[in-house]
Subunit: 129 residues, 2 copies
Amino acid sequence: MTDKKRGKEIAEVLSNPRSQKDELQALQDTIYVIGGKWRLPIINSICNGNNRFREIERSIPGITTRMLSRELKEMEANQLIKRTVTPTVPVTVEYTATGYCRTFGDIILEMIKWGKAHRKKIIRSPEKD
Amino acid sequence: MTDKKRGKEIAEVLSNPRSQKDELQALQDTIYVIGGKWRLPIINSICNGNNRFREIERSIPGITTRMLSRELKEMEANQLIKRTVTPTVPVTVEYTATGYCRTFGDIILEMIKWGKAHRKKIIRSPEKD
DNA sequence: CATACTGGTATACTCTGTTATACTGGTTAC
DNA sequence: GTAACCAGTATAACAGAGTATACCAGTATG
């Protein structure tokens, strides 16, 4: 190993403490769980009181029944939401957020905050160079 | 229009105030900007002091040069980062975060926080049913 | 001479998230 | 009897995010 390389590695260890690797891991874990175009909007919708399938669907313009169905299924498997069927005629299906799901609240809030500021910024200076 | 449908629409307007649509829009805007597997890790890395191409690459295990190159280019176009070339021999290229980029700080922080809690939860109860 | 560093590009491929469209089975309304 | 609601499923196709691998020009190390 060259002195240069050795020096670089030492520098890396010093400037790259363990916490940085842990934080990257945590960040990537989160991205993995809430990744995709629809997860957070769905969670947000359910937390806002939309509990029925078609209700959620209508509350998120652009989503297809297929995507909603798939995401709900996966989120149920991951204990993010609970699916309750009431045997009325016809059957009533309700989706509710679990406590685990609500832990995303702060992230969603921050993202909404960012999105609003971002939109304002775009309006004020559409093409700043 | 049926009374039932009319009633439903009124209920929807009442329970679905304008702010909910705005918030969904803001959320989706944000998802669009920071979407994908690599954006936030790259921003995080640069903000943590990794400014050279290979430095960033090494700090994010698993990323390919192609993805990093593509993302950096797009992020530069979107004024998220600044690319500075110094004509040393060989040339030195430095990427730095713009102030705009740093506005993601809170989101990243929340996501790291969530990821750490999530991992702890997994360790404590790997398969809770 | 071979290897490894710098900052990337080129080519080809996979994979899966996402879309589009149609359909099911039962109920209620017109 | 036809249209619309509910809660979805089925099938096919697409687009682009992401991967794998090799390569370029130049410099330095051994």
